[in-house]
Symmetry: C2
Subunit: 500 residues, 2 copies
């Protein structure tokens, strides 16, 4: 299915023609030649440049911009510079790095549409770390296979960033201009909870002034079904180390009298949960608001099929408190997950008969409503200390950032613009959706810039974000670019109507 | 303190003089010149060759003969060949490798003492794996520091092997002969539970025929206090993998409905123990015999100080069922220890927000009395399967060897010979001791060769066996050699008295 054949473009025809008076592109499809010359020229440009774009995408994904490991800082800087150069190359008049306490933010601005609104687009170029051995192909040597580009960060969120940039490239090339003013802010510390982003926004408030904000780090329901995310969970992380001895001990010589750090860690981890699968940390749910009738209604409309969902991961059961449905649990309930755990001798081969002297775990909590990351971590730490037996000592490694939960109103024109464009392109109304994930920067955007950053991204839930073999679909590259082009035209048109 | 000054040699004088008629060594200590010329010459030889022996020991310890990792097989073979060459160099008439299903056994024999008894000495040249990052100096680049040689296997058991070989070298050099016939069997799979050793014994029964057996893989109470180990625990190992998904999952997108393998592993591990710290696996203690009055009496004689003991590891509490004393628990009660545990993203830096799709643990059980390794593993597997919830699947990696518990009688002449030599050298009676550790081959030696292999080794409990920064003391090299020399003379003398 190509988009040119599937979409109903009636409502866009006028604005597209209006916006592209100077278009000289030839359309080889005779049937459409009169109706939408510039859409066809966008498509033509996109298709003709698909190979080149894939090549440059592979170049970008090959840079390991891992934000949670300090030694990758130069790679993050290299990635940011790569994006600045790309912005300059396509004709974004201002493109530069803005330093932060962490990795720099890529800032771009095209402001040659006087009297038109300004849209600021958020994305992030940093990526999650990798466990190289679990990948079928090396995470930073991206490969294109079966219409998918495999590599760390391909979907989350380098694909999101590049989709918006390529859309601008397409319009600037075809029309010599954009339908509205556009700004970019691509940060480099999203995957560690955007600890420096709010400060960046405050320091650069004037520079970042805009009328609309978009979040390119989001997705659709599936390849053929659109969705608009109206709430995100927050997230906060913690690492802790249980230490029982200064050294590992011979399990024969000392086994029977010596505390085992691995056992104590396992016992602490077990104590995090009750039998129903809820978090047993005291006070954890105190600020969680009951799920509303409206939220339940929203979930009812989603054709959620546990079997299809479980197929993505190859799981054989769903877990969690049966008092809530799976989507209720993922969208509106907080979690505490063990994301990493290590103790003793764990090399792939060999067996070391030792009582480990220390054991480490990393956790991530997803938060909802008014839950505060710092408060939650305090509760978890209190719980661990309370459950740490004699003979063990726990030390903590706190992260300096956390993402706060976020809710976007669905009764705004901003929501409507996105909804209408998605409806046109996909041929069906988008689901009103929630995400169990987190984009910490979004609440800061609201607080500092006064804007709700509505999601417009093309990640899909099977694309293994954060896991091994992450990939982004070539079809999403194509569809995403076209949607960004049409959305900006539609926004310009609707806003000028409002002015009249 | 040098041994020459501290030991009372009265009872050995005659036999030493007898056994070393041809000794021409000069003794620089005028006081002792008449009393013990050949002991002095042994000491002289030992001291003069200390540097050379240390150098060759460093060479031996630098070969990574890890038996639990198949890729180290060539290193194990290299180690075995190195020892064969050393045996040949000192004049052991027969020295060769005997192949097994695993690493070869080093076999040696010196049989030029017709009419004298034959002593067979057991040791092992294989070593535990390492976690290199935890070592202060590289585990296979041994260094000498403060009278200690640091390196994997230095104490367990390359020090044990070399002590016996150097003792033979000293006697052969000084006397041109040994006081008894001596055989060696140094195996290369002790650290994986000696799976092939019984078969080796059976196949080579005639070759290995002897009157006395010694186990060089053992130690003393401390640097100044002797001990004879009369019981060893058995040991058996198991690795298991909890799998909940084919891949890791984004902790936001899937958190709340997706089973977490790390949590399930932690819950299974917690279920292994009851609140008193006993193993909660059904049937685990069924074959454990109550601790006898005699065993309790034995323990009473040991000046066990928990504080001193805890200092070795830097622990701050002792654990275990308070119904038993610490030594009772280590000597006569079985254990189940988590020796390794891994799940999710655990690289030293970085944080990956994933729900791990699999989680691995390795356990080691120490066994007592009639506990059978295979039976115990069956019980543990049954327990795990019973405690594995829906949504998870457990797979197992069994080891093909396990060490059986072993008891040595203390009312034998074999025990007495060792006890008397140790008493003389250390100036005090050895403790009758038990070990929480395991030397699986010893029961096979009894069953196949009909001999109790009494311990005569010089490892000390703070030498970090199996852990990082393992070391062996230079003082033990010296003392151990001298004791082996005197022991063989004493044995020859006592046995010839019995014949009269």
């Amino acid at each position: 299915m190509t988009i040119s054949r599937s979409i109903a473009l009636a409502m866009f025809v006028s604005l597209i023609l209006l916006a592209n008076k100077n278009s000289t592109a030839q359309n080889t499809n005779a049937n459409k030649q009169k109706a939408n010359p510039s859409l066809a020229s966008y498509e033509k440009y996109i298709d003709e440049h698909m190979d080149a774009h894939q090549k440059e995408f592979i170049e970008l994904v090959s840079i390991p911009s891992i934000s949670s490991i300090p030694s990758y800082k130069p790679d993050a800087a290299r990635t940011a510079t790569w994006i600045v150069n790309k912005l300059k190359a396509i004709g974004i008049t201002t493109a530069q790095l803005i330093p932060t306490e962490g990795n720099p933010v890529v800032y771009g601005s095209w402001d040659k549409a006087p009297g038109k609104p300004t849209v600021i687009i958020y994305g992030h170029y940093d990526v999650q770390p990798v466990t190289e051995s679990e990948w079928d192909t090396p995470p930073f040597s991206p490969v294109l296979k079966d219409g998918k580009i495999f590599g760390r960060g391909a979907s989350d969120d380098k694909g999101g960033i590049m989709t918006t940039i390529w859309a601008m490239e397409t319009m600037l090339h075809n029309d010599g201009k954009l339908p509205v003013n556009v700004k970019f802010m691509f940060e480099g510390n999203e995957e560690v909870g955007s600890p420096y982003f709010k400060n960046f926004l405050e320091k650069n408030k004037d520079l970042l002034k805009a009328d609309f904000a978009l979040n390119a780090d989001d997705g659709q329901y599936d390849e053929n079904t659109p969705a608009i995310t109206v709430s995100l969970r927050g997230s906060v992380t913690l690492e802790f180390l249980v230490k029982t001895a200064n050294t590992d001990a011979h399990s024969g010589e000392f086994g029977g009298k010596t505390p085992n750090s691995a056992l104590i860690l396992a016992q602490i981890i077990s104590s995090f949960y009750d039998k129903a699968g809820n978090v047993a940390v005291e006070g954890f749910y105190d600020k969680v608001i009951p799920i509303s009738a409206q939220q339940k209604e929203m979930i009812k409309k989603i054709p959620y099929d546990p079997a299809t969902d479980m197929k993505i991961l190859g799981t054989t059961a769903e877990v969690g408190d049966p008092a809530y449905s799976p989507l209720e649990r993922v969208w509106y309930r907080p979690t505490l997950e063990i994301v990493g755990m290590q103790s003793g001798y764990t090399a792939p081969e060999g067996h070391s008969n030792i009582i480990p002297g220390n054991a480490m775990a990393r956790i991530t909590c997803r938060l909802v409503n008014n839950q505060d990351g710092k408060e939650i971590i305090d509760l978890v730490v209190k719980h661990i200390n309370k459950n740490c037996p004699a003979g063990a000592k726990v030390t903590y490694k706190y992260s300096n950032g956390y993402a706060r939960p976020m809710v976007l109103p669905a009764d705004t024109k901003e929501y409507r613009y996105i909804s209408e464009v998605l409806s046109e392109i996909y041929g069906k109304q988008p689901f009103q959706y929630a995400s169990g994930g987190s984009v910490g920067a979004m609440l800061s955007v609201k607080e500092v810039l006064g804007l709700y950053a509505y999601p417009l991204g093309f990640e899909l839930s099977d694309e293994k974000w954060h896991a091994a073999n992450e990939f982004f679909r070539v079809s999403s590259m194509r569809k995403g670019q076209l949607i960004y082009c049409l959305y900006l035209h539609y926004l310009a048109d609707e806003e000028s109507k409002l002015k009249k």
